[in-house]
């Protein structure tokens, strides 16, 4: 059983399009995250979502919006895609929002904007 799953694994799209990446965790965790890994492999937190509270990294453009239909899902919607959005996006989850637990990562979604 995959603990944290993401779909799709690869996403190729044109500039200006709107796209979504889905994330699901079956670990019963309370907190979920989205990270962006750029072409130099640098990982940066984008969002965390815990108990209906969304925390946004202030550097993330408002074209990005996470949506959580329930505790097990945190989907990422991206509007008006730009070339600079090309990256690998990782979803993660942890038991709670204390920082005292390991984060489990999904397999990543490689987004390419043409």
């Amino acid at each position: 059983d995959t603990a944290v799953s993401q779909t799709p694994k690869y996403l190729v799209t044109q500039m200006g399009n709107d796209k979504s990446i889905k994330c699901e965790q079956n670990l019963g965790h309370d907190t979920m995250y989205w990270y962006k890994q750029d072409s130099k492999k640098f990982l940066k937190i984008m969002f965390s979502y815990n108990n209906k509270e969304l925390i946004i990294n202030e550097t993330v453009p408002n074209r990005f919006s996470p949506k959580s239909p329930d505790k097990a899902h945190l989907n990422l919607h991206i509007n008006s895609l730009e070339l600079g959005d090309s990256a690998v996006y990782f979803c993660a989850s942890s038991q709670d929002g204390t920082g005292h637990n390991e984060q489990f990562f999904g397999p990543g979604t490689r987004l390419t904007v043409l």
């Binding site: 995250y33 492999k41 640098f42 990982l43 925390i55 990782f90 993660a92 005292h100 390991e102």
Partner: protein
Amino acid sequence: AQSVSQHNHHVILSEAASLELGCNYSYGGTVNLFWYVQYPGQHLQLLLKYFSGDPLVKGIKGFEAEFIKSKFSFNLRKPSVQWSDTAEYFCAVIRRGGGADGLTFGKGTHLIIQP
């Protein structure tokens, strides 16, 4: 805000060599520390973590790390590397009670083990 510095961006070693990857963090409060590994084309996996107690922690696959509070360091070590250790290694911190902030990662060290 926290920051993490990994000293070596690229490391090339031969099999059986000993490994030490440096990691320093900057933060005025208490943090929890992690090392994650990313094998080629795969997701991040936890190697080891330090929250409190014995500053020498052991992880999977023969890795260990030592937390030195006075130096704000959490260096990763392995006495004898294998070809299969070729991967990207990330040091990360999270402030105690700040799980909602997410992990702050270093820029990673690309480790290549030559047979």
